[in-house]
Amino acid sequence: MWNYEKKLEYPVKIKRPDPAAAKVIITQFGGPDGELGAAMRYLSQRYTAPTPEVKAILNDIGTEELGHMEMICSIVYQLTRNLTPKEIKESGFDAYFVDHTNGLYPTQASGYPFSAQIFQSTGDPIADLSEDMGAEQKARLTYDNILRLVDDPDVRDVIKFLREREIVHFQRFGEALRLVTDKLDAKNFYAFNPSFDGKK
């Protein structure tokens, strides 16, 4: 069960609309390494996690990712307010606008809609946590690319916060993976799936 907190995890206050920036940043809503996929990945994987620590970290990082999805959506929402049809056409935001107006729809920057095919939930904690570490790095590099493309300090400040969280999550997933392997045979971590084989 989740409760809503009526605030963002970190403030989003963008003074100047910039639909061209919104077009690339939206990929962190519905793209392959975006926050929606991250939340769904961890919150799906948690059920079969082998130990309480791993269940907790998947639960709590998955929950934080929902808050990050909200921050990304807030950025896109604020970047696309009060636009004229001329501004929409000139910025290239028209291809999105024609289907969604200013509504928030989870999509990649290219326009490809969000797909659950971008993540896995394998029921094998070594495979899942290895994917999770990769996912955090891919999100980190996407934020690095956004920082290469966006100049507005109001936007960059929020993107830098989100980028930093990817690094912290990567660290926590690394610790979770170690907690799993510490309980396995060091000579062959893959001898069995601790979430499936040998259940009592």
């Binding site: 605030k7 963002l8 995890e9 206050k13 807030s74 926590r172 610790e175």
Partner: protein, 85 residues
Amino acid sequence: MSDREKLLKKVQMYKFAVTDAALFLDTHPDCAQALGYFNKYRKLLKEAEEAYEKTYGPLEICSEQNASRWAWVDGPFPWELSANL
């Protein structure tokens, strides 16, 4: 920075400390130092939330501020620019 933004920033700052400490504790549940840090900021968070809510309305459905009037429905909502100023 408005008085509202100052109080909100405090809530966000302490909540962030609590969130980050909780993730660390998930993988280090026996770390007394981290638990001490968590408890310190949990208390500061509670005080900051109460101070904010008294003037600017509920942050959560179960807030005291909803008891006599349904203030939950009052804007602005967090994604709006004015909620962050």
